[in-house]
């Protein structure tokens, strides 16, 4: 897909989703749609580091919750409009991502992954013991009842998340086609060879962790306004970490479209399963799908599609 075509397509898809949403009267679809879009952002963000450079981040929940909690802090200090909150959340998580990467990325990839597991617990403990943001009791956010033009607040949040999702995907796609993306791919395929060939691996990895962390924080920033009550257990929910790994793996990690497919597929399945069966069971579904795909279809849905399409083209 050419860049111009991509932008037109992105705009059309975005506008179409939003246009469809105007026809919908049932509020539930906005709540469900918001979650799916949030996962598009998280999965895309994870994939920038995990899919492009091959470094597994288990700490999505930490970056996500940092974004959410910076909103809580700002809500108490001086309330700002949501787009500004998203920027702040992105900066906070991006800086943490950079620091984290600087400490651990010089080691083997496995240590980075273990350190991200550790980061999630350290940040959660800090937040739980920080009374200003509610500690373990949690914090309440009162959202304005109405927004100009749109009217309904949840529709506004949905629109914000839609824009964020389009931006995240556009960033991922731009990286994929740039020198940066080729550098990332070189690191993923053979880091030692890349380093020898003059690719500045540490700097590129730091760029990837910062960007990925920032996008995760941005996805988390509107969360307090969405749930109106935020406690550490929900902000740091393991489901975020599992989903943001499972979605790119199931969709396909090598291109920007994979995480979208994975997020829309898994996100929708989970929303349906939560409503019809139970919320514990839908997490089991994610786990089983993750293991099944990793074993049977290592290149995800995109990989499956490519193998099916290839014989026909010949």
């Amino acid at each position: 897909m050419r860049t111009a075509t991509f932008w037109i397509a992105a705009f059309v898809v975005g506008a179409a989703v939003f246009g469809l949403s105007l026809l919908v009267k049932n509020q539930y679809y906005f709540f469900a749609g918001y979650v799916v879009l949030q996962y598009v952002v998280l999965a895309t963000a994870w994939n920038i580091l995990g899919g492009y450079t091959g470094y597994v981040n288990f700490g999505t929940a930490a970056f996500f919750a940092l974004g959410a909690y910076s909103t809580v802090v700002l809500y108490k200090l001086f309330p700002m409009p949501i787009p500004a909150l998203i920027l702040v959340g992105g900066v906070v998580s991006g800086v943490v991502g950079l620091g984290m990467g600087y400490l651990t990325l010089r080691l083997r990839g496995v240590f980075f992954s273990i350190a991200t597991l550790a980061l999630a617990v350290v940040v959660q403990t800090l937040i739980t013991n920080w009374d200003y943001v509610g500690g373990s009791r949690g914090a309440y956010i009162i959202r304005p009842p109405k927004v100009p033009i749109l009217g309904n607040y949840i529709e506004y949040l949905f629109l914000v998340m839609l824009v964020l999702a389009v931006v995240a995907v556009a960033i991922a796609r731009t990286i994929e086609r740039s020198r940066l993306g080729y550098g990332f791919a070189a690191i993923r395929d053979d880091e030692l060879a890349a380093e020898t060939a003059g690719v500045p691996t540490l700097r590129l990895k730091l760029v990837a962790t910062t960007l990925s962390g920032a996008l995760m924080g941005m996805a988390g920033a509107p969360l307090p306004y969405y749930v109106t009550y935020l406690d550490p257990a929900s902000g740091f929910n393991l489901a975020y970490a599992v989903n943001s790994i499972a979605m790119p793996l199931i969709g396909g990690m090598t291109s920007w479209i994979g995480p979208i497919i994975g997020a829309v597929f898994l996100g929708t399945v989970q929303q349906v399963a939560t409503v019809t069966i139970s919320s514990a069971l839908n997490l089991l579904i994610v786990g089983v799908l993750l293991v099944a795909f990793v074993i049977i279809a290592p290149n995800g849905i995109v990989g499956l599609a490519q193998t099916w399409l290839r014989p026909r083209r010949r």
Partner: protein, 291 residues
């Protein structure tokens, strides 16, 4: 002043007991991650599974948890062998272990946890045994048997494994795999077979550690996650794959955690382990006793 000194002494003793137990929890990861280079982040899930088996047998038949864990150890061994077989066929042979292998173990961890929640719910479960609830007193020092029994058994487990690895033929083969895989292949031994035995052994220790865990504290499915950081922190701090280093790191972490819990409150203690891990990774990745 005397009281705070007593408090400190008590915290240190409790920490040492806790540390011994941490060593038993970590020994499996020390084998799988430290020696075999398999990043089994699902290890704590197998530990919790061991706890629940000890719980079921204990409530149904009143059998001692540690005895139960020794009886079911062969089952855990078989489970470990099966998991390794899948891991080897799907990831190791394709050279795909770094990213998808990690995701595989993460998925296993998650499936086990959710499955346990679906079956048992999120209530805390505990076991009964004659020694739980008894405490020995030596002056200002309290030695609860609830901690002392797992501590002694952990040390025995560790000593047994160390003997096995350094004296028996298979044990030496495992050490050989960890040192030089290619050389083992040239001696016409099959590294995959040795690794399967070693990995199965590591999962068997998880079952035993699970029994210790449920003696020490009530268990619910998601507490396994707290142990991921602890076991890897200890394993890395101890210098991958070395048992004496690992034991030192475990005791150190136990004491620091216990002091933190005594003087700052237990809600801070998870951050201690992970803070330790981050600092170790950042400044001394070869471990406290590393070269």
């Amino acid at each position: 002043m005397a009281t705070s000194l007593d408090l400190l002494l008590g915290a240190v003793v409790a920490g040492i007991l806790l540390g011994g137990f941490y060593a038993a929890v970590t020994v499996g990861v020390s084998i799988s991650f430290g020696m075999l280079d398999i990043v089994n982040i699902a290890h704590p899930a197998f530990i919790i599974l061991g706890s629940y088996i000890a719980y079921i047998v204990n409530t149904r038949f009143g059998l001692d948890p540690i005895l139960t864990s020794i009886i079911v150890a062969p089952a855990f061994y078989a489970l470990g062998a099966a998991v390794y077989q899948v891991y080897h066929l799907v990831f190791e042979r394709r050279g795909d272990e770094s990213l998808r292998g990690l995701a595989f173990f993460f998925g296993l961890l998650f499936i086990t946890e959710v499955a346990l929640i679906l079956v048992f719910g999120v209530d805390y479960r505990f076991v009964d045994a004659a020694y739980i609830g008894t405490t020995l007193h030596y002056g200002p020092i309290d030695l609860p048997l609830r901690m002392l029994v797992p501590f002694v058994c952990s040390l025995a487990l560790l000593a047994g494994l160390q003997l096995f690895l350094s004296r028996s033929f298979i044990g030496r083969a495992i050490m050989a795999v960890s040192q030089d895989r290619l050389a083992l292949q040239l001696m016409s031994a099959n590294p995959a077979r040795i690794k399967r035995i070693a990995f199965a052994l590591s999962i068997a220790t998880a079952g035993v550690a699970g029994a210790f865990l449920i003696i020490i504290q009530p268990v619910e499915p998601s507490i396994g996650r707290d142990y991921i950081g602890r076991v890897f922190a200890i394993c890395v701090m101890g210098g991958l794959g070395s048992f004496p280093g690992m034991l030192m790191a475990a005791l150190l972490l136990g004491v620091v955690e216990s002091i933190t819990a005594t003087f700052y409150g237990p809600s801070w203690s998870p951050a201690v382990a992970f803070g330790f891990l981050l600092l170790t990774l950042a400044f001394r990745p070869s471990g406290i006793m590393g070269r």
